[in-house]
């Protein structure tokens, strides 16, 4: 799935703000600042000399006066050595990250922005560096240059640089294709300025996040090498302290604990900083795009309960009876975004009900609620959904699955993403049949029959294909075959033709119509295409802002739309009409001059005002 590049502005402005507001990141930052201060002021803070041995302090236990954490094998104060050890640890990690950034970031920018030969060569080098065990190469570096922390950690920076290179390259390629970068190019900005202004600002946050994690790795690797005795012997380091303590494990076992805790705390603060920052940035830039927020109103509750009160006898013959359905998503601030707000729908056997409305009107969410398959976080807040006489709210998960295996079926919008890419088409058709208790061979035969029934020319070949080997039109036929394999009485089709080519759309639509007639199914057809509605539906419900504003037989709706919004929709979509008026403003509140003002209730629900009608329900 393509990840939208975060807009440069907000990230730049609030990176530090986000960091401070995230408790994990803030904790990491505070610990890190303390460590830096300890490193700088070790000379003042340390109670004793870190190098001068004191024979009486040899392997002294923790709590000894003058050595709160004890003394090491040579009688040196462990606490003081820990404080001094902070210096080289932080310097080494910072150096590694600096080198990794200096090598990886420019290379990633050029490879991502220019591509071609440089990209090919640099990406090969990155692959190679990532495939070589870094520590083995570091041993060779130490063998060549001796145990110098600065040289070793610089070399480790080069080994780490592919991580930053890949990150920057991917992000740059993503940003490069954004329209605002095109605009900057057309405006004649130089490449250097484009990279500096538009691209660096976007990749900055990910670089900082990744650098924090890499710095943690650098601390661990550096202390590991020092533990092995490959560090600078003239320096006090946490790793060498561990090595010394290991040598006296039987005499002073606790001495091994402190350097490990120091390393752990340092790395944890870096990891927390990175993770917290990532959560903060992702949370602010990739917040799920839900349909816009609709405030629940007293008027809609009233409408819902009024609708529920009308005729229980009507419900008994309905295949699908939705009353006062409300669906919402909780938001981080504790409030709830209501996306379906008091929807009523009724559908009889053999009837095709079109559910139309623009994007974000709540029509797909209504369909998912009927199926009981709302995305993560979504919940039914109120109302009822009765399918074939059963209220689905009261069903156990198993009973709901049973309903899906026998009564209710679903045809999705996007055919390619709705087939499991890892399984053959045939397996995906056979599995639901097997789940319903059919024998293997019978299920296979039925799957082949179904493929033939939905008009696939060579069922056996399609049966053996993987989803990526068939076309979108074929995939949609496969999904329709899967839907009817349960012999459902109610089919929920969510924009079943939207993702297809125009010629294929017509074929799939006529297939749906044929199957609906042959099998006498009720179909709830979600669409934004009024042409599809005119073609196949008996009845239409028009949705807007989470509510049904008008329900009518299809011919009547087209001939004589009652609601302002329906008229606007028709005007906007029919080709042979007069020049269109502007679409009705979506925000509630300000009265539209074209609205019939007299008979609607006051309050924010104004455009949904009921209008008198005899042959239909208009709300």
């Amino acid at each position: 799935m393509p990840v939208a590049a975060p807009a440069p502005g907000p990230v730049r402005r609030s990176l530090f703000g986000l960091l401070v507001r995230n408790p994990l990141a803030l904790t990491g930052l505070v610990v890190l600042v303390v460590l830096v201060l300890v490193a700088i002021f070790a000379g003042v803070l340390a109670p004793s000399d870190p190098i001068q041995p004191n024979l009486r302090m040899r392997n002294a236990p923790p709590g000894t006066p003058g050595a709160p954490l004890g003394g090491d094998g040579a009688g040196r104060d462990i606490l003081s050595r820990l404080m001094y050890g902070t210096r080289l640890t932080l310097t080494g990690a910072a150096l590694a990250i600096l080198v990794a950034a200096v090598v990886g970031v420019p290379a990633g920018l050029v490879a991502g922005y220019r591509g071609r030969l440089f990209d090919a060569v640099a990406s090969w080098v990155a692959d190679v560096l990532l495939s070589v065990p870094g520590k083995v190469i570091l041993l060779a570096v130490i063998a060549a240059f001796g145990p110098s922390v600065l040289i070793t950690m610089s070399a480790f920076g080069v080994i780490l640089s592919p991580h930053l290179y890949r990150l920057v390259r991917t992000q740059t390629i993503g940003v490069k294709n954004e329209l605002y970068v095109d605009a900057a190019t057309v405006a004649g900005l130089s490449d250097v300025r484009i990279v500096a202004r538009h691209i660096l600002s976007v990749v900055r946050a990910p670089i900082i996040i990744q650098s924090a994690i890499l710095a943690g790795i650098a601390v661990i690797v550096q202390s590991g090498l020092e533990f092995l005795g490959l560090g600078d012997p003239s320096q006090v380091t946490w790793g060498s302290m561990l090595g010394n303590a290991f040598a006296v494990i039987y005499q002073a076992p606790t001495a091994m604990i402190w350097p490990g805790v120091a390393i752990g705390v340092t790395v944890a603060s870096l990891v927390l900083l990175g993770n917290g920052l990532r959560d903060a940035v992702q949370g602010s830039t990739t917040a799920p795009r839900r349909p816009r927020r609709v405030r629940p109103t007293a008027a809609s509750h009233a409408a819902a309960s009024a609708a529920s009160a009308t005729g229980p006898d009507a419900a008994s013959e309905a295949l699908l009876d939705v009353r006062g359905l409300r669906v919402g998503y909780p938001r981080p601030d504790g409030d709830t975004t209501v996306v379906v707000d008091g929807v009523d729908l009724r559908l009889r056997r053999g009837e095709v009900l079109g559910l139309v409305g623009e994007s974000g009107s709540g029509k797909t969410q209504t369909a998912f609620a009927v199926l009981g398959l709302l995305p993560r976080g979504g919940e039914v807040l109120g109302g009822s959904v009765v399918v074939n006489g059963e209220d689905i709210a009261g069903l156990s998960p198993a009973a709901r699955r049973q309903l899906l295996r026998t009564t209710l079926a679903y045809v999705p919008q996007e055919p390619m993403s709705n087939l499991d890419p890892a399984f053959r088409v045939g397996q995906q058709l056979v599995e639901p049949l097997r789940v319903r208790g059919m024998a293997r061979t019978a299920a296979k035969a039925k799957a082949l029959d179904l493929l033939a029934e939905v008009g696939i020319p060579d069922p056996r070949r399609t049966f053996d294909s993987y989803p990526h080997q068939i076309s979108g039109g074929m995939a949609q036929r496969v999904l329709i075959a899967g839907a009817i394999s349960a012999d459902p009485v109610l089919l929920i089709a969510d924009e079943p033709t939207t993702a297809l080519d125009v010629t294929v759309q017509a074929e799939v639509l006529s297939l749906l119509r044929r199957l609906q007639r042959e099998r006498d199914m009720g179909v709830l057809l979600v669409t934004h295409n009024l042409g599809v509605v005119a073609d196949i539906c008996d009845t239409v419900a028009v949705m807007r802002s989470g509510r049904v504003v008008e329900t009518a037989p299809v011919a009547e709706l087209f001939a004589n739309p009652q609601h302002e919004y329906t008229r606007a929709l028709l005007d906007a979509s029919l080709d042979d009409t007069e020049p269109r008026p502007a679409l009705v403003p979506r925000e509630h509140g300000a009265p539209d001059p074209r609205d019939a003002a007299g008979d609607r209730p006051s309050g924010p629900a104004a455009p949904d005002a009921p209008q008198p009608s005899t042959s239909r329900s208009v709300r």
């Binding site: 520590k135 130490i142 590991g224 290991f246 699955r401 899906l404 295996r405 087939l419 890892a422 399984f423």
Partner: protein, 313 residues
Amino acid sequence: MAMFIVRRLAFGVSLILFATTLTFFLVHRDGIEVARTILGESATQDAVLARSEALGLDRPVVVQFLSWLGDAVRGNLGTSYFSTDSVASILVSRTPVTLSIVAGGVLLTALVSVGLGMLAAVRGGWADRSVQVLSVLGMSLPNFWVALMFVLLFAVTWQIFPATGYVSPDVSATGWLASITLPVVALALSGIAAATQQVRGAVIDLLEADFVRTLRSRGIPERSILFRHALKNAASPALTVLSLQFIGLLGGAIVIEKVFALPGLGTTAVTATIRGDVPVLLGVVAVTVVIVVVVNLVIDIVNGWVNPKVTLQ
């Protein structure tokens, strides 16, 4: 598929060449200096010159490299500067030790990270939060320090496992298992922490995928969605993660071997580094990279088998 394997093989060969060339020229030293180190300060200048010549170190560097490469391809990796053992024989005895703990570590990483990652993704709530905390802990604690703590607790204090040493499986299967248990667990911890995060993210994404909703709409039980569909879809990225983990564990083994005094490639390399035993160090680098290339190739082939799209690329 054949083309795919050939391409991966070509990359593997270039990787081996790159690593050995880089190491050779990094650690190359002047022949007189090397001979002086071997023979000691008291040796005469003539003896030093003669030894340098005997080792072939008086030739131009490029000639030395080409002759090393030519011999290496035929399986002759030279002789240690400080003993009469051939490098090949040293590597043959040391490699199984390292492979034992690295393979064990990869296996443990795969099992535990898939289990914990799926648990966190599916259960959410406190299970997810606990896994997150454990994961930060696993990434923060150096694995060699965890190994030290293991030695302190399980070997020194409670004496459940042997503190040090390696038992070949030819000698005793249970002894072998006991000798690698602590090293394997210590080695795998940081890999488990990282891989668990990745499994968790992948499963969360997969369970939100369109095709999972469609599977649910067909009345497929959650058990099948999770263990059949999600697992098979996650297998391909998980294998990539594992191949990177394998490389990481090979590096981690260097320090872990020292803690448990295991006679593996890591301790061999560290000793060679400290003494300046160039042929041994080169040999370790060469065999390590060859192992990486072979494992990656196997993973690529398994990947092609799991992921139907690879075969077409």
